[in-house]
C-alpha cells in the first residue's frame, strides 16, 4: 500500500485529522520540497571559501597592500558583520532562538573569521604580545564564546572550542608554562586532559544554570573524544598503563551509561570503541604469537558484538 493510501486510511479511521492529512499528503506527493539544507550548505561553503581567499591574498600581497589597508578592511568587515547582527537580532534569551534571517548565522561566522585573520596579521606584523602571542587565541576564543551565546550560533561556538583547544596546545608547545614542554604524546596528555575537563565542566555548568542548554551536546562531543583519546594514549605509551586503563574504563563506562540514559547513542559508541581499544592494547602486551592475537580478536569480537546486539535490542531501537 502506498503512503498516500495509508494516510487516507488513517484519516478515515480518525487517527489523523483532515488538516493533518492534507499537510502530510502534500509532503509525500512532493508538492513542497525544502532546499533549506542545500542553501545553508552553499552559504557556509561561500563564507569558508571567501575567508580562505582573504587569508591567501593577504599572505601573498601584504607588502604591496600595506598594513593600514589590510587591517582597516578586516576591521571594517568585522565591525560590519557585528553591526548587522546586533541591529537585526532578537534580544538575548537563554533558550534556543531561530535566526532572524537566513544569512544571519553566516554573517556572524564571517565576522568572527575575519577577526581571526586580523588578530593573526596584527601579531605577525607588530609583535605586540611577542612571546605571549598565543594569548590571541584565548582572546579570540573568549570573543567567539561571547558572540555564540549572544546570538545562539553553534558555528561560532565550534570556532570558540577549537580556538580554546589551540590555546591549550600552543600554550604548552610555545611556553610550556602549565605542565612542562611538549616533546611527545605523553607531554601533550595533561594539556588535553585539562582542555577536556574545562570543556566538560563549562558545558555542564552552563547547562545547569539554564544558559543555552542546547549547546551542551557540542561541548560533550568534543570533551568526550579529547578526554578518551588522552587517557587512551596513556594506556598506549605511559608507564602507568593500568592506572590509565582503569581511568579509561571508568570514563568509558560513564560515557556509555550517560549515552544510554539520555538516548545519545554516539556517546555509547565512543565509550565502547575507546574502551575496547584500551583493553586490547593492554591484553596484546601480554600475548605473543599471531595465533593468540587473532584468537583474542575473534573472542573479544564475539563478546562485544553479542553485548552490542543485546544493548541494541534493549535500549538502542531505531530512531
Amino acid at each position: 500500500m502506498s503512503t498516500l493510501r495509508y494516510l487516507e486510511r488513517w484519516k478515515t479511521a480518525g487517527a489523523i485529522t483532515a488538516d493533518q492529512h492534507d499537510v502530510l499528503a502534500a509532503l509525500v506527493r512532493k508538492d513542497r520540497v525544502s532546499v533549506f539544507v542545500e542553501l545553508n550548505a552553499l552559504l557556509y561553503a561561500g563564507v569558508v571559501a571567501f575567508i580562505a581567499g582573504v587569508g591567501w591574498t593577504i599572505q601573498t600581497y601584504f607588502a604591496s597592500l600595506g598594513d593600514a589597508a589590510i587591517l582597516s578592511s578586516l576591521s571594517l568587515l568585522f565591525a560590519g558583520c557585528l553591526a548587522y547582527c546586533f541591529t537585526r537580532s532578537a534580544p538575548y534569551s537563554n533558550d534556543a532562538q531561530e535566526s532572524s534571517h537566513f544569512a544571519f548565522d553566516y554573517v556572524l561566522y564571517l565576522g568572527c573569521l575575519s577577526l581571526g585573520v586580523a588578530l593573526g596579521y596584527l601579531e605577525f606584523r607588530f609583535h605586540i604580545l611577542k612571546q605571549n602571542w598565543d594569548q590571541y587565541l584565548l582572546l579570540s576564543a573568549c570573543v567567539y564564546f561571547a558572540l555564540s551565546y549572544r546570538f545562539d550560533n553553534r558555528l561560532v561556538l565550534s570556532l570558540g572550542l577549537s580556538s580554546l583547544a589551540g590555546w591549550f596546545g600552543l600554550r604548552a608547545g610555545v611556553h610550556h608554562s602549565l605542565f612542562g614542554p611538549i616533546v611527545d604524546a605523553a607531554s601533550l596528555r595533561p594539556y588535553a586532559l585539562a582542555y577536556g575537563s574545562v570543556v566538560v565542566a563549562a558545558g555542564v555548568l552552563l547547562h545547569r544554570t539554564g544558559i543555552k542548554r542546547h549547546f551542551l551536546e557540542a561541548y560533550l562531543h568534543v570533551a568526550a573524544n579529547v578526554l578518551l583519546t588522552a587517557v587512551l594514549s596513556g594506556v598506549a605509551v605511559s608507564e602507568h598503563q593500568w592506572l590509565y586503563l582503569m581511568v579509561l574504563c571508568m570514563l568509558a563506562g560513564l560515557t556509555i551509561v550517560q549515552g544510554i540514559r539520555t538516548r545519545r547513542f554516539a556517546f555509547v559508541a565512543y565509550g565502547i570503541l575507546y574502551a575496547y581499544a584500551g583493553i586490547s592494547i593492554q591484553v596484546l602486551r601480554g600475548i605473543d604469537g599471531d595465533t593468540h592475537v587473532f584468537a583474542y580478536f575473534t573472542l573479544s569480537g564475539v563478546v562485544v558484538i553479542a553485548g552490542l546486539v543485546m544493548l541494541a535490542r534493549r535500549f538502542g531501537r531505531e530512531e
Binding site: 525544502s34 552559504l43 599572505q59 601579531e123 565550534s158 531501537r317
Partner: protein, 380 residues
C-alpha cells in the same frame, strides 16, 4: 528474491516518516503510538551509532576469525589456500548474513550488512587468486565478481550501496586494462552512464515508493561517478589526451551539472540536487585549470562571494514565489531532519576552518593557515 517483502520495506520506510513527522510536530506522540501499531513489522532495527559500531566489530571479527583459522590449520600462503580460504569465508559470511536476516529478522542492523559486504570482497579475492596470471586478468576477474556480488546483495538484502559498489567495480575495470587515457576514462564513464540510465528507467517504471527512492539514490551516485571520471582535472598529473577529448570533457563538466539540476528539479529529487550542487562547485573550482589560466589568490574570494550570492538570490527568488515557493521548492525548513542536517554541518565546521590560529610571528614562515584553532590566522 529479496529477503524482505515489499510491504515490510514500505512499512519500515513509513515508520521512519511518521517518526519524522512527529519530531516535526505535524503529529502528536499519541498519534505516533497509534500509527506505529498499524505499521508493525517483526524486523529488528537499531540506531545509526550502534549500527556503525556493529559494522566495525563485525568486520574485525570476520577478518580475525579467518586469520585465526588459517594460522591454526597451518595453511601456507599458497594460491590454492588463498582460493579455498577466501571462497569458504565468502560462503560462510553470506550464509551467516542470510541466517541472521531469516532467523533474527535483522534489518539494517550493521552485522548482516558487514557480513554481506565482506562476502562480496572475499568472493572477489577468491576469483582474483584463482586467475592470478596475468595480473590484469586477475584484477578484472576479481572486479567482475565483486560487481556481480554487489548487485546480488542489493537484490537480496536491499543494500543500495551494494549496487553503487557494483557500478564502481565495473567502472574500475578499464583502469586495469592497457588502454589509452581517453579510452579508459570513456569506458569508465560509459559504465556509470549505463548504470545511471538503467536506474533512471527503473525509477520511472517503479510501482513502489521504496524502490523509487532506491533508484534515485543509485542514479545520483552513478551521476557523480560519471562526472568524477570525466573531469580530467581531478587527476594528479596533466592528462595526456588529445585536444578533442580534452575539450569534450571540459564541456561535459559544465553540461553534466546543468543537466543534473534540470532532472533533479523536474523529478524533485533531493539526492540528485545535492550531488549536482557539489559537482557544480567542482566545475567552478577546476575550470581555470582546464583552460590553463593562472590561479590568483583572490579566486576563492570570488568563488565564495559567488556561492553566497547564489544562495541568497535563490532563497529570495523562491521565497518571493506564490506561497513562498516556486515549482514546489521552498527555502523554508519543513521537517526536523533539515535541522539535524545542519547539526552535521556545524560538526564539520569544528574540524574544517579556513583560517588557523595565529602562529609564531616569523616573517619567514609564510603559511596558509591550518584547520582547527579557528580564528586568528594563518602565518603570513
Amino acid at each position: 528474491m529479496r529477503l524482505y517483502t515489499p510491504e515490510q520495506e514500505e512499512r519500515i520506510a513509513l515508520q521512519a516518516l511518521v517518526r519524522e513527522w512527529t519530531r516535526s510536530k505535524l503529529l502528536d506522540p499519541l498519534q505516533l503510538a497509534r500509527l506505529e501499531r498499524d505499521l508493525g513489522t517483526e524486523v529488528r532495527r537499531t540506531n545509526a551509532a550502534l549500527r556503525i559500531t556493529l559494522v566495525f566489530f563485525t568486520v574485525l571479527l570476520a577478518v580475525a576469525s579467518v586469520a585465526f583459522v588459517v594460522l591454526v590449520l597451518g595453511l601456507n600462503r599458497t594460491r590454492l589456500d588463498e582460493i579455498m580460504v577466501s571462497g569458504l569465508a565468502a560462503i560462510l559470511y553470506l550464509s551467516l548474513a542470510e541466517l541472521l536476516v531469516r532467523w533474527l529478522r535483522l534489518y539494517r542492523f550493521g552485522v548482516e550488512e558487514a557480513l554481506a559486504v565482506m562476502a562480496v570482497v572475499a568472493f572477489g579475492w577468491s576469483m582474483s587468486s584463482w586467475l592470478n596470471e596475468p595480473l590484469r586478468v586477475s584484477m578484472v576477474a576479481g572486479l567482475l565478481v565483486a560487481a556481480a556480488g554487489g548487485l546480488w546483495i542489493y537484490g537480496r538484502f536491499g543494500f543500495v550501496y551494494g549496487a553503487m559498489g557494483s557500478a564502481v567495480c565495473v567502472a574500475a575495470i578499464p583502469f586495469q586494462l592497457d588502454l589509452s587515457y581517453a579510452a579508459t576514462r570513456s569506458l569508465a564513464g560509459l559504465a556509470f552512464a549505463v548504470v545511471c540510465a538503467a536506474a533512471h528507467l527503473m525509477r520511472r517504471e517503479a510501482g513502489r515508493e521504496v524502490r523509487r527512492e532506491e533508484y534515485e539514490d543509485l542514479r545520483a551516485a552513478a551521476w557523480a561517478g560519471l562526472y568524477l571520471v570525466l573531469n580530467l582535472q581531478l587527476t594528479l598529473d596533466e592528462p595526456g589526451v588529445g585536444r578533442v577529448f580534452y575539450w569534450f570533457t571540459y564541456v561535459l563538466t559544465w553540461a553534466l551539472p546543468i543537466a543534473g539540476f534540470w532532472i533533479a528539479i523536474r523529478d524533485k529529487d533531493r539526492a540528485l540536487l545535492g550531488v549536482n550542487l557539489i559537482l557544480a562547485m567542482i566545475t567552478l573550482i577546476t575550470h581555470k585549470a582546464y583552460l590553463h589560466w593562472p590561479r590568483h589568490s583572490w579566486d576563492p574570494m570570488i568563488f565564495g562571494a559567488m556561492l553566497a550570492a547564489i544562495a541568497l538570490g535563490v532563497r529570495r527568488w523562491l521565497a518571493a514565489g506564490p506561497g513562498g515557493a516556486r515549482n514546489g521548492f521552498t527555502p523554508q525548513r519543513l521537517l526536523e531532519e533539515d535541522r539535524a542536517a545542519l547539526s552535521v554541518l556545524r560538526a564539520v565546521s569544528l574540524g574544517v576552518q579556513p583560517v588557523g590560529a595565529p602562529s609564531p610571528a616569523s616573517p619567514e614562515t609564510l603559511g596558509g593557515g591550518r584547520s582547527g584553532g579557528g580564528g586568528a590566522g594563518a602565518s603570513y
